[in-house]
Amino acid sequence: MSALIHDGERSDHLVFALAGELYAVALESIHEIVKVGPITRVPRARADILGVMGVRGRLVTVLDLRRSIQVQDAPIDARSRVLLLQVDEEDVGFLVEEVREVERFTPSQIEPASVLGGIERPYLRGVARRGPEMLVLIDLLPILPGREGSALNVGGQGHSYPGGGAP
């Protein structure tokens, strides 16, 4: 089970907005936050892959997180940002609408994803409450193509999703 839930330590999360909702990811998973540059479409790629973008000489594959988790589409504007991750020596970016702030959650603030009901999503980690607000905690890795399988199959070893778990 995830360290996030059980070791009693507080953890830093990056809070961002998507289609009017607030989401949060573990801060340590984010390498960098950059502005959106010109993105080159890659024909025949999965629908949520916007394309490739150059960031200081490195090649970044950019995914539109809204499409990945199937929330409403919106145009890219001045507030849009790309969250950069380094996964197995590869640079991957996730387009989000707006980056808000860094928030520290205590374990007591976090509830398992099962409270959301509906279909299990491998990337859902739980829900955090902040006063009246509700933030959806997500894990970006299982969203990547070619990796979702491994994350699902090894359930419990690599990633662990509160309330979800391995079948």
Partner: protein, 738 residues
């Protein structure tokens, strides 16, 4: 969170592995040379034996440092055996050669065991050690021969084992032994000795130099020099041409005299006298005639004595572990990639510089400054280009690195299968990107193995077919433009297309309906289909299937193509066409609708204005006649479902792409320019997308995709090929050949 580790031991470990595997590779290479020299009847080449001995010795030292016990144990025993071989104490038989080849194999396995890749071959090592010990016991110690000569025991006593061996070999070969006595002034001893060596070299081999200790002159040294020669004393005297040097023949003892007891063996030179040999090379000498073999004297009419300086063997052994012999630096390829990336960044800087310079030049007020800046830019550009080719050069390695390993495999496999195979390699010096070389060894291994397993017939079958007993597997490499072509060819039984088709149908890979329309060549190519012939590989059928689909995928990943041609009873030839380098490519940039793409120049023939009127639709596919040949055509905008550009291009262009013998015309909207770009790989996230070899930064912050021509050709042509009806009779001949 990744485990924190100290960097230094890791680096040392890496260094150890790379040095050790280099030594093992060298060992294998030398063994092949040794085998060749033995097979050609020349006997083992002493220089090669010395090289092997030194390599194993160094390996022993290395493994000792790293606590690799099995490795150092094996090396120790091998060292003993090699020493015996080197000193002629045991003959180099085929059995011994086999043991040595086994050792190379085991070294490889032990090394990968140390890396944790596989279990340590403990059993095999023990077996080999036992065999090595058994061989060592057979050694034939024989000093009596030397003892028959009038040599002082004190002289014999200080001979190193190697010198003693050379002495014995020469005497056995019937050469005469001479003693040269000379006094050298200390001040000029180096040059005087050198001159004497030069004079003696054409007529004899210098066995050793020994200071006699007589004379008592403080400014000079008396030397006694033992020379073996085929010439008479008079000739030797003439060659030496100096009154200061006394030449006398060392005679056999009068047998009535009592025999001198055999000289004690001394493995290390005890006197480190003032004789510092200016020329410290070892002695390549005429092949040693061993007493167990018929003397090879007649095969070497002239005494081929090249070198005179004799390096004491034991001293040689002591030195090697201390001194690094080569001028080379090992570099992790990732470091080169980083350099390459930095270089890519620099070319972006160059682009910006050019833009500013031109802007300045266009303003009258700053025109002067702009011109100067352009000059600076040109110099910068030149240096960048030099740096780029420099880094590329470092990445290039000769294919011989892989080929040497393959020669060992051929030897091993042909023995296992009890087949006689002659392995011919050409073009080992052809250079290719290091990364490609690394990826090539597995596919080549498969191909060579298959050629012997399934291609080359057992001897009786060859005899029945009227072929020579020894089959030939040829490995050729050569550069062709920006590609390197590697061919593996055998003169075996070939692939029977009917049998392949039959099998593909029985395996359910091809429908009976489709099978009818395959041409003979297409049928042979079915061996590359995934899942083909993964079982019953040992049937009488001519299928050569182990992992041919893997070969194809691997080569495709490197941007290469595989072609196969085979004729029943004549043989099979598989051709790999690979790019020379993966890092930098010359491309033509072009536009499809509103998107810029890059076409590797190495994969294209030409770009011309596209005439849509020439296009015909055949069987649902577009083709056109281009330069008298039918060319399949694909419209990239359609293939890539490109969003339409705001303005339609009035005329279009046709880029003719070619890989190997296959061509494809690609219709594009506008051509931009040719340029060199640094390829960046698309990540695993885009692993599901086919058709692109990578992407590159074009310098205006925009990334452009580089077409993967082999995969596009594959995609656009393969599906079509299967449909072409070519040899209708094929379908009726199913069942034959199996």
């Amino acid at each position: 969170m990744a485990e924190r580790r100290d960097d230094a031991p890791d680096k040392a470990r890496e260094e150890f592995f790379s040095e050790a595997s280099e030594l093992v590779d060298g060992f294998g290479r030398h063994l092949l040379a040794l085998e060749e020299s033995v097979e050609s009847g020349h006997g083992p080449d002493p220089e090669t034996l010395n090289d092997i001995f030194r390599g194993v010795h160094t390996l022993k030292g290395l493994s000792g440092l790293f606590g690799a016990a099995t490795l150092s144990g094996l090396s120790h025993e091998l060292e003993n055996l090699l020493d015996d071989l080197r000193l002629g104490r045991i003959p180099l038989s085929t059995a011994v050669l086999d043991l040595l080849f086994d050792a190379v194999e085991l070294y490889g396995r032990i090394l990968s065991a140390l890396k944790g890749e596989q279990a340590e071959p403990r059993e095999e090592v023990l077996t080999l050690l036992a065999s090595l010990a058994a061989v060592s016991n057979e050694r034939s110690g024989n000093v009596a021969f030397i003892a028959e000569y009038e040599l002082a025991p004190e002289t014999l006593g200080v001979l190193t084992e190697y010198e003693e061996h050379r002495l014995r070999s020469n005497l056995q070969a019937g050469l005469a032994l001479y003693r040269l006595k000379a006094k050298f002034p200390l001040a000029t001893i180096d040059s005087a000795l050198e001159e004497l060596k030069l004079r003696v070299r054409p007529v004899g081999e210098i066995i050793t130099y020994l200071p006699t200790g007589d004379g008592g002159d403080l400014d000079a040294i008396d030397l006694e020099i033992l020379v073996a020669s085929r010439s008479a004393a008079a000739e030797l005297r003439q060659a030496v041409d100096s009154d200061a040097v006394l030449v006398e023949e060392v005679k056999k003892r009068d047998l009535s005299q009592a025999r001198t007891p055999p000289a004690p063996r001394v493995s290390e030179r005890t006197d480190d006298s003032a004789i510092d040999l200016p020329d410290g090379r070892e002695t390549p000498s005429p092949p040693a005639a061993d007493e167990d073999e018929p003397p090879h004297v007649s095969m070497h009419p002239a005494p081929q004595v090249h070198e005179a300086a004799v390096m004491p063997a034991a001293a040689a052994g002591r030195d090697i572990s201390l001194r690094s012999v080569t001028q080379t630096v090992r570099v992790d390829i990732r470091k080169l990639d980083r350099l390459m990336n930095a270089l890519g960044e620099l070319s972006l800087v160059r682009g910006a510089l050019l833009r500013y310079a031109e802007k300045l030049r266009s303003e009258p007020a700053t025109r002067r400054l702009g011109m100067d800046l352009l000059g600076v830019h040109r110099a910068f550009e030149r240096q960048l280009a030099q740096m780029q080719s420099g880094i590329l050069e470092v990445r290039m390695v000769p294919l011989g690195q892989v080929f040497d390993k393959l020669a060992r495999i051929v030897r091993q496999v042909s023995r296992e299968q009890n087949k006689s195979v002659h392995f011919v390699v050409t073009g080992g010096e052809t250079e290719i990107d290091k990364l490609i070389v690394e990826e090539l060894s597995d596919p080549l291994l498969h191909m060579i193995r298959n050629a012997i397993d399934h291609g080359i017939e057992p001897i009786p079958e060859r005899a029945a077919a009227g072929k020579p007993d020894t089959g030939t597997v040829a490995l050729n490499a050569y550069q062709q433009g920006n590609h390197v072509v590697i061919e593996v060819e055998d003169d075996g039984r070939g692939i029977d297309p009917h049998a392949v088709l039959h099998k593909a149908v029985t395996m359910g890979l091809v429908s009976m309906e489709d099978a009818k329309s395959f041409s003979l060549e297409e049928a042979v190519s079915l061996v590359f289909m995934q899942g083909f012939s993964t079982r019953d590989t040992a049937t009488a059928m001519s299928g050569r299937g182990i992992g041919m689909d893997i070969v194809k995928t691997r080569i495709a990943k490197l941007g290469g193509l595989v072609d196969i041609v085979s004729e029943v009873q004549i043989g099979t030839k598989i051709t790999l066409t690979l790019p020379v380098t993966l890092a930098i490519v010359g491309v033509l940039t072009f536009v499809v609708e509103a998107t810029v793409y890059c076409m590797p120049l190495s994969s294209m023939e030409e770009a011309v204005v596209f005439d849509a009127a020439l296009v015909r639709e055949v069987d649902g596919r577009e083709v056109m006649t281009h330069r008298g040949v039918t060319l399949p055509v694909v419209r990239l905008a359609r293939l890539f479902s490109e969003p339409p550009a705001p303005q339609r291009a009035t005329k279009q262009f046709l880029i003719v792409a070619r890989v190997g013998t296959r061509r494809l015309g690609m219709v594009v909207d506008r051509l931009i320019e040719q340029q060199d770009v640094v390829i960046k790989a698309l990540g695993r996230t885009l692993g599901h997308v086919r058709g692109f070899a990578g992407a590159t930064d074009l310098g205006d912050q925009r990334v452009a995709l580089i077409l993967d021509v082999p995969s596009l050709i594959e995609e656009c042509l393969t599906a079509a090929e299967g449909r072409r009806a070519n040899d209708a009779s094929l379908a009726f001949r199913f069942g034959e050949g199996s």
